[in-house]
Assembly symmetry: D2
Homo-oligomer: 317 residues x 4
């Protein structure tokens, strides 16, 4: 069964709090103490917020105390630009609520992941479309400054290509530029393939070890950075091991059998790559392109309420 035991055996941690909760509730059959859930419904999206409220819930969920907002919008995959704009507006609204920061304070946007591997390129692609204003802010007219924020943006690369832990690079830049908030964007791995490019998670707890599909061992969070970190993640892959486990379970159930521990059979099939194997749809390049546009659009709206989209050009590199 796809339970905590299996995930541990395969060395997989679930990136989406919503999925982690489903698994655990599936095991216990009841709501986890210290976990509270809110739900909002929009035309093209459902917004579910999982609040992890105490240490006990943190231990059970394997995720730090905090807010995990999940926007489920199958329309992202449908490539309807009008609907994409609506999803971007919903995301912008959520970001604004979380941010709650005087306009003149610095924000640093970090695009995690690897430019060269399509499913891991979401973060760098968002950074590429962010309205960067920190270097222009002081030259902007007074009346404009009220509606914009000094924003900087960086795609620090991955350990394999820099030789430096991503968190070290970000920490160095944070100490030099003293942002009041970090927004970190990352590709996630979901449990279920139908979450690929349909779900956006916003967490006020930052990036924590074990998350994401790349090599980001040290966390990027309030504790390591000294400022609040909002993480925005979108599942772009699923673990092959989970697909295999789900298929086994579905099949056994269909035969009326009782599934047992399949982890060693699965490990065997996935040799020599192991938990390093991910499942992606062929059209991942288009999905990443569209999702990056939605997230960058939402960040730009949330950061600069006073700049109309018509004027973006002036600030876009």
């Amino acid at each position: 069964m796809l339970d905590s035991k299996f995930l541990n055996a395969m060395n997989i941690s679930l990136d989406l709090a919503l999925e982690a909760r489903e698994i655990i509730r599936g095991e216990t059959g009841q709501e986890i103490p210290g976990v509270r859930v809110d739900k909002d419904t929009y035309d093209h999206a459902t917004v579910t917020t999982v609040h992890i409220e105490d240490q006990n819930a943190q231990t059970i969920m394997g995720k730090p105390v905090g807010k995990y907002i999940t926007i489920e919008a199958p329309v992202i995959k449908e490539n309807n630009q009008q609907a994409h704009r609506e999803v971007a507006e919903i995301l912008a609204e959520q970001l604004k609520n979380l941010i709650n920061l005087p306009m003149e304070l610095n924000v640093l946007v970090i695009g995690l992941g690897n430019w060269n591997a399509t499913p891991d390129a979401l973060g760098p692609k968002v950074v590429d479309q962010c309205l960067v204003t920190r270097h222009l802010y002081n030259y902007a007219p007074q009346e404009l400054q009220g509606g914009m924020r000094p924003v900087s943006a960086l795609a620090p690369g991955v350990l394999g290509t820099t030789g430096i832990e991503t968190a070290e690079i970000v920490r160095g830049v944070v100490e030099k530029t003293r942002p009041s908030l970090i927004i970190a964007i990352d590709s996630l791995a979901a449990r279920s393939v139908d979450r690929i490019a349909t779900t956006i998670q916003v967490a006020d707890t930052g990036i924590n070890p074990g998350s994401g599909i790349g090599n980001k061992r040290a966390g990027i969070n309030q504790e390591t950075m000294g400022v609040r970190v909002i993480a925005i993640g979108v599942p772009t892959v699923t673990h092959a091991a989970i697909i295999a486990q789900d298929a086994i379970e579905k099949y056994i159930n269909s035969t009326g059998g009782q599934p047992g521990d399949a982890s060693s059979a699965i490990k065997n099939v996935l040799e020599p790559f192991g938990s390093n194997l991910t499942v992606t749809p062929k059209e991942i390049d288009i999905l990443i392109e569209d999702t990056a546009q939605i997230i960058a659009g939402a960040i730009n709206m949330a950061m600069h309420p006073g700049i109309s989209p018509e004027d973006y050009g002036y600030y876009l590199h």
Copy 2:
């Protein structure tokens, strides 16, 4: 069980003749009539040639009559440059034997696949490193012409980005440039993950419908192009459906059970992407980079025996 019936149910055709043969032999327990197999062993590679010799074998194997040379070299994944050079030399030797063409005749290299999706970018990346000489050939000194060939190269893109069947583009270019041979490079899907970036298939039958991971519905072969087509393919992905099926089989076997038809359980897990889901290792960008270098190196050696690697620079764009 992973048999022809399952592959049909999932709408999957196996790209490697070696794997297709294994499946069918597994079903019948004996060599397929009309199929003959040769094997050579090298330091870093095994070369197995599957000869499909008659119509009957063609029907059973689902692949046209012809030669399918498979170079199995796990060292490709190990990133040992010296060993990579040896694999390139083995591939060059195989190509030279197949080509067997007077030096002054034109060869057209076609890189199939999609630049923007890492696992499908092998073909375009090989084209990018090919020694293109067709436009310089007539200006080269007489004594050099004896050791080089007029080569041209094209990465025609995929149907989704051009609106044109790849085979139509290639056909058009063939009619204008009249090559005596086409070499087509493509990403393949393997049955087993341990074939990813360890196996190179060279087929003298060209590209045939159902092969590859992209959108290449019409064949690129002698029949459609009017000239011989040698296809070079490397598995860069596995079908998620096969991973799931293998896991089910391994697990059931381990419980002493008897596996039945799991195709509907698997289809269910793979919703909404279906057979469109592929499994890739995270480091696919590096694997593609290295494999492209080996294949381009082998093509350059096979095409231009008289140009020493020191002089490549002059011809490389």
Copy 3:
């Protein structure tokens, strides 16, 4: 002086008909017989159409008989998205008038130039943003087909990287896909630096030898392709030789002197690159990005009047 004699000595031909006319009129002091000029004025742009009406004018201008529409819009460089949209609409209007083709007929968009050299990458970047519909057209609902057109798009690369004349590739594709019209996009070289990323030329005569900054020796025009070719070009560079000549002239004039033939002095300064040297602003990457967006937007509007921008996503790869 920057006259026809100097341009011939330096082996430079002017891409913009407007500039060619200015030079010749400067020499003769009067309108060229067989050349007629119209002018329209918009908020953010001036549209000047040079009509070359007979063989005599063709010989003098060094450009085939036809219509050369020049949109001068300094606002392109200013990065004001609202104004960019207006320029795109003006260009779309001009294209619609020129095209004048039943909706069900095929159009092929060709992006000339070299992906890897920023100032020459305009064509490929436009192709990347074109709404490609040819492969979907027959599956689209009847009522939608009335407002869209079957469009395909190709970036054929340059001679140095393919070994094939671009015109040969295009010709081959044309023969296979039988479009009723070709739209070819190319980077141009202007006489004056203030035309870089401020001027768009639309010519109903296609691409003719001597034009553009890349290697496109054979023409892409009605004669070579068998169908009408509309060329859209934007200056992205100036010839270094022209900059040098203009500076000499301005300086000599300022000293009250009489400029003579400076071509050998200039050739000497430009060694070893000669007429191969181009002048570009540092921010050329941003200018190319913005211009590509305007041109692709205009082509999409002109091609598919029935598809609202909201629905573009569905057709964009």
Copy 4:
């Protein structure tokens, strides 16, 4: 005349110490006090070292006290791979002499410049080919560690795309990773076009304000970073203003005249871009590709004398 006065008027500073010295010597007709010059000759290259030895020379030259090694190798442009290897070995030798650092100490390679603008992409392209070992160093076998060094590498982007001064980013990373040496690679602007892709300057003074073609206002040097900085630069462009001035001078001389101050005539021609206009050969993409390979090769040889090129693969991302 192309003298200091003209360069000041045009707001241009010369990146190559060799060229700066020539200009000044041309003005005074004698060697600059406090400047000493050495010269070595190789098969494919000349190596000239300009030593700026005291404050007085620093003021006159407009460059800090230090060593400026210039490798002049026209063969770089000729694309002869064997000769390229020799140039790489000469550069590696020079780097080894300058570095003179115990093997276990960290080195940080910084690739300055803008990925998206071909002539400014040299730094990022070198970083992409550097053998990054810092994250593997502690896992490497003891006997290997003697012949390799912990190296990390970063392409920090440019101010326009990050909103952060490049020097700030580098400083932050330096404070976190504590390298004992920085090697910074940058594109330069030369006075003469025949220096484009034929000249490599290595300076032990780092990057200083006014250098380079991008936006790097603050220096990256011992003073700002707290560790030694070796700068490697290659001219990839020339200033359009210098081309214009040289042409005027050559022309006036040819007429037997006496050139005066042409700066206002030149400014006028270069409107609206001014000193922002650069001159590049069309084939700049190939030149950058080749030069990046030479520099990365030299850095890898100088850093890791114990790793044979055959084993590079294991460390290359």
